[in-house]
């Protein structure tokens, strides 16, 4: 446990940036000061990630102006052009970042797509994991989710409260399968 925490602190000090679709380096935590920041990790080839598009759009709209949502694509073979097309196909109106070296993945402790990382105004990670419990396993989804971890975490951060759950792993596709 202790060496891992040391590594964690070391990393937090190092890199926290991704590349926008014009290949500019962006630090999503500092780009929009004073806001709650949500990183949403997606794989274009992951059907679970894709099915969540309307849900992600809807939740980001719900917290519009109070929390900044970033879509993060950790597959280094994803070109900006391919991501632009994906955003258009799925009706996304959210900024997207490429994360070819998985810096944001490490920062947000993401393991699966789709998962989210929620940072409070002080840039502290307060929740990482699934959006909700819609999917039970890859081929089994509920007709509707019964928990709402992402909304709850953003709501807690806005209210300055501690989140009830700081981590629940998602159902979907492994980020570690990507080099």
């Amino acid at each position: 446990m202790i060496p891992a925490l040391v590594a964690c602190l070391g990393l937090a000090g190092a890199q926290q940036t991704g590349l926008d679709l014009d290949d500019r380096i962006v630090n999503p935590l500092t780009a929009d000061p004073g806001k709650i920041v949500v990183l949403v990790f997606l794989r274009r080839d992951c059907p679970v990630s894709s099915r969540y598009a309307p849900v992600i759009q809807q939740i980001s709209k719900q917290f519009s102006g109070r929390a900044t949502f970033w879509l993060v694509y950790p597959d280094k073979s994803d070109s900006p052009q391919a991501i632009r097309k994906y955003l258009q196909d799925y009706g996304y109106h959210l900024p997207a970042l490429r994360d070819p070296d998985h810096e944001l993945v490490k920062l947000g402790r993401a393991q699966i797509t789709p998962e989210v990382a929620v940072f409070d105004r002080a840039h502290q990670l307060i929740y990482d994991g699934r959006i909700d419990d819609w999917y039970v396993e890859l081929s089994r989804a509920r007709s509707a989710p019964t928990t709402h971890e992402l909304s709850d975490a953003v709501g807690a951060a806005l209210a300055g409260k501690t989140v009830a759950t700081s981590e629940v792993r998602g159902v979907g596709c492994y980020i570690s399968d990507l080099e």
Partner: protein, 604 residues
């Protein structure tokens, strides 16, 4: 899915693959034990995954080469170990299925070891060629391609959609079909599709406008004559188009519609679904006639909220020898453990199918590798277990609610279709499927004694088998359940006419016409009943009214002519008999009566 225990800290470490489920010790690996993609993994993937995991097919990504597989390696370990992939629901059993898509334990272990050892590609010389994948129609160019008139727009989110596309079949005469290939549109969003044969175009009335299709998960096709469904025409991702065995072609008549019943799942973005169907004809008419036999017990489905293990059973004893060719279980989201078995006359019990973890999304038709001989006296049984608790994540109600049998996806179902081929029968005794259908109808009446349709269908079957007295008894029971039902009263009246008890027919036919004055069949039958009582004036009046409903009916013209002849109105009788022969030159009553009438008129 969650392999990482205490993942919070471990996940922070950059680049270290965290795989705590490792059992294989790297130090023990010698080159001989090293698993490589090219030698060991590619054959498994190509055999069991690539049919769907390639461009244009149902799977969300391709698995065509080392890079593709490596990009999903851990996921493949997970889904093969949980047996979510390849999708194959039945447990292994003695009676083997064709095209079984189940990985051996050794194959699953091999994939795991490959990932543990670092996903080594291996010697290119070890890589064997992939099967030759065919793009487009799998059986080559179809003889006839039907494309849905109007595409369906699938919204990006929401619940699953069940949609029916109607395909009129433009054939000028009866054709025999040896294979049907279903191309359901974009295969990634279609979970499964079924074709139903609508021989009387009865589904068109359900469309808001012609060609639009209609919604609904479960549909029923009405039929006027004994023409039992005989083929399971089914598509799911990975389905290889099925070519019917010699002599078992599907008959398609002029005017037949094919109904494609689809289950669609939103993808996150708007999709447009426009299915097509390819028909492959054969010049050889069917010589062997299978039949679909349904076990069900929906009436028993009344599942209290919270109940985890609600069991429904149905047993049916075969009245004839059959070969079982295929099986198709069906339940909705509460279905959990699905079993069917056969108890042979000697008491031996054979599992026909056992699905311990039902998943509607992966429902399928399962064909047996070899036909299963089931002698007369074999008891067929289904036993379905339903979980209506909150522990069932697929429960459509949260919190759980009372769920009953029904056609909506939030209702439940308990159905099992068996495709059987009668064997060892004496063809002089008529179509052996009739005995089967009668036994099924009787069984249905036993299960649903208060159900109008159960009695009505048994009566119709008995009448088709010339068991008129028994048919009348069943129609009477049906009419007792729905005293004003036009169809039931007409059928009972018609059966009395056929049994030459015209006096008993009249009242029922009048009731039918009271409910539905424009009911042509009842009008015509009432004419016959009155004629049977020598009330030719009354009969002629009914036939005239029937003609107003259907002016082109040769039978009515002929009977009207005969009634008028009985009344002595010879010239008028003659003109109606002639009109009958204009419509149908072979009309036998008209021919016979016209001959007699000419003699009569000549003799005066």
């Amino acid at each position: 899915m969650i392999l990482l225990a205490g993942a919070g800290a471990v996940g922070m470490l950059a680049g270290r693959p965290a795989r705590p489920s490792l059992r294989f010790s790297a130090s023990a690996a010698t080159p001989a034990e090293q698993v490589t993609f090219n030698r060991d993994i590619a054959p498994i993937i190509f055999q069991s995954c690539t049919a769907c995991h390639r461009p244009g097919e149902a799977a969300p990504f391709s698995l065509l080469n080392y890079a593709d597989v490596k990009k999903h390696a851990r996921q493949i370990v997970d889904v093969t170990q949980s047996r979510a992939m390849p999708p194959w629901l039945p447990e292994p059993q003695k009676l083997k299925f064709a095209d079984e898509l189940r990985l051996a334990d050794a194959e699953i272990n091999l994939i795991q070891r490959w990932v543990e050892q670092g996903e080594i590609e291996g010697d290119p010389a070890d890589l064997r060629a992939q099967p030759r994948w065919v793009a487009g129609w799998q059986l080559g160019k179809p003889d006839l391609v039907l494309t849905a008139n109007k595409p369906l727009s699938l919204p990006p989110s929401g619940t699953d959609t069940y949609w029916n596309f109607i395909f009129p079949v433009p054939i000028p005469e009866t054709r025999w079909v040896r294979a049907i290939e279903i191309r359901p549109g974009d295969k990634r969003y279609v979970h499964h599709a079924n074709i139903l044969v609508d021989r009387e175009a009865s589904s068109r009335q359900r469309e808001a406008e012609p060609g639009a299709g209609f919604g609904g998960m479960e549909i029923r096709i009405e039929s006027q004559v004994f023409d039992p469904d005989s083929h399971l025409l089914f598509w799911k991702p990975g389905t290889v188009p099925y070519v019917e065995p010699e002599g078992m072609a599907l008959r398609l008549d002029k005017g037949t519609d094919l109904i494609l019943n689809t289950h669609l799942q939103p993808s996150g973005k708007p999709e447009v679904i426009q299915p097509s169907i390819g028909l492959y004809f054969t010049p050889h008419p069917a010589t062997r006639l299978p039949m679909l036999l349904q076990l069900e017990n929906d009436v028993k489905l009344d599942i209290p909220p919270g109940q985890k293990d609600f069991v429904v059973t149905d047993d049916f004893t075969l009245p004839i020898d059959v070969e079982l060719l295929a099986i198709y279980p069906h339940a909705h989201y509460l279905g959990k453990d699905i079993q069917a078995f056969a108890t042979l006359p000697d008491g031996a019990k054979e599992t026909l199918i056992h699905i311990p973890q039902w998943n509607l999304n992966w429902q399928a038709v399962y064909r047996y590798a070899e036909p299963v001989r089931l002698p007369s006296g074999t008891k067929l049984s289904l036993r379905y277990l339903y979980d209506n608790s909150d522990e069932n994540p697929l429960n459509p109600n949260h919190p759980p609610a009372r769920v009953r049998g029904g056609n909506r996806s939030s209702d439940e179902m308990c159905h099992l279709w068996l495709q059987v081929l009668p064997v060892n029968f004496d063809s002089a005794q008529g179509d052996p499927r009739m005995a089967l259908q009668e036994a099924l109808a009787r069984h249905n009446v036993e299960k649903n004694p208060g159900d109008f349709e159960a009695h009505y269908n048994l009566a119709a079957m008995l009448q088709a088998r010339d068991k008129l007295d028994a048919a009348i008894k069943e129609y009477e029971l049906a009419v007792r359940l729905r005293p004003d039902d036009a169809t039931g009263n007409n059928a009972l009246g018609a059966a009395f006419v056929a049994a030459e008890h015209s006096s008993q027919a009249v009242g029922y036919l009048q009731t039918a016409l009271k409910t539905r004055p424009d009911y042509f069949d009842a009008r015509y039958n009432l004419g016959l009943a009155l004629a049977g009582q020598s009330d030719f004036r009354g009969a002629a009046e009914q036939f005239r009214l029937a003609l107003q409903l259907q002016p082109q009916d040769a039978n009515v013209e002929a009977n009207l002519g005969a009634a008028l002849a009985q009344l002595g109105q010879l010239p008028e009788a003659k003109s109606h008999l002639e009109r009958a022969l204009e419509i149908d030159p072979k009309q036998p009553i008209a021919k016979e009566n016209l001959g007699a009438l000419q003699k009569e008129m000549n003799s005066h």
